[in-house]
């Protein structure tokens, strides 16, 4: 009556067990040193080129700014809490790096112009910064925005050199700008 259930079941068991173990092993070792920021295909590629209307309707701005050494693109909205956090640092960096030819362009994302303007009036406006609106989200699509705030850095050769997802601060902004101004390209 007792008969071997056949090697098939045992082979199956071994295959499943080994697969699980290998999968888990690779998983645990490979991913522990992963970084979170660089997986945009845009980084290292030429920046999208476009013209956007200014938020107050007074004119247009070009992206990337042809007159600037470094164009910093920041997507924000009045409903975004973390944008409030990073706003003072963005302003400070825009002013600090003015002489190095850095131009900050802030693009309103999924927001009504009047709300964005109210947000800026509350938190601070600088004449050094361009404030653009983004009709039909074409700029956000072109830059591959997931969720704001997001910040992109474009070098003098028009190549996107870096991206910050989530709130930026003076330190991270300054480091990216220094990398472009210093060596032309980070790493």
């Amino acid at each position: 009556m007792k008969r071997r259930p056949g090697r098939a079941a045992v082979v199956l068991a071994v295959v499943v067990a080994v697969t699980t173990a290998v999968f888990a092993g690779v998983f645990a070792t490979r991913l522990s040193q992963g970084s979170q920021l660089s997986d945009s295909p845009l980084v290292g590629a030429p920046s999208p080129v476009m013209t956007l209307p200014l938020l107050d309707g007074s004119g247009e701005t070009e992206i990337p700014d042809p007159a600037a050494q470094v164009t910093v693109i920041n997507f924000f909205a009045s409903w975004c809490l973390e944008c409030r956090v990073e706003h003072p640092d963005l302003l400070a960096v825009a002013e600090a790096f003015l002489d190095s030819g850095v131009r900050l362009v802030q693009i309103s994302y999924q927001d009504r112009p009047e709300d964005s303007i109210a947000f800026l009036n509350e938190l601070g406006i600088s004449p050094l910064v361009r404030y653009a609106s983004d009709p039909d989200s074409r700029a956000a699509i072109a830059f591959g925005v997931f969720g704001i705030p997001e910040t992109y850095f474009i070098g003098p050769d028009g190549v996107v050199t870096g991206r910050i997802i989530g709130p930026s601060d003076s330190l991270s902004l300054g480091r990216q700008i220094d990398l472009i101004l210093g060596s032309g390209r980070p790493e």
Binding site: A8, S40, L42, P48, D136, S137, R138, I141, F143, V145
Partner: protein
């Protein structure tokens, strides 16, 4: 129904013919039906994961960012671009993981092969291992 010859006649002739007739009607109606009309933009949109939401495609998502992406797709459709051109432009700055429909490539070969292997292995096992003659036992009729 109670008459055995009538029953046999029914089973042998009327029933198969009726079945065939019904099946033929279904097959003919379905094959001659107008192909389901599907919006091209909708079809493309279903292949793109909405970046601002969780899980849904941009064609399904109610978020306004997905709506803007769909608007872009529709615009390119009216410009007469091919599906691939539209996807390339729309997704130029997004990682490939945002696409919902995996392409046939060498790096996705296992994705398609594994379920197929499971099916074939299962069939082979069932066929060769389980179908061996056995000594007749007392047959318990059971329904």
């Amino acid at each position: 129904m109670a008459d055995p010859t009538g029953m046999r006649l029914l089973l042998r002739w009327v029933s198969p013919l009726l079945t065939l007739a019904l099946a033929a009607f279904v097959v003919v109606s379905l094959t001659t039906a107008d192909p389901a009309h599907q919006d091209r933009a909708e079809r493309i949109g279903k292949q793109v994961r909405c970046p601002a939401c969780e899980g849904e495609s941009i064609a399904e998502s109610p978020s306004s960012y997905a709506a803007d992406m769909m608007g872009y797709v529709r615009e390119m459709v009216t410009q007469g671009l091919s599906d691939q051109q539209i996807l390339d432009r729309l997704m130029a700055a997004y990682p490939r993981s945002q696409m919902l429909d995996p392409p046939f490539q060498t790096r996705t070969a296992l994705l398609w092969a594994l379920p197929a292997t499971a099916l074939v292995t299962g069939l082979l096992l069932a066929f060769y291992r389980l179908r061996k003659p056995v000594a007749p036992e007392s047959i318990r009729d059971s329904t």
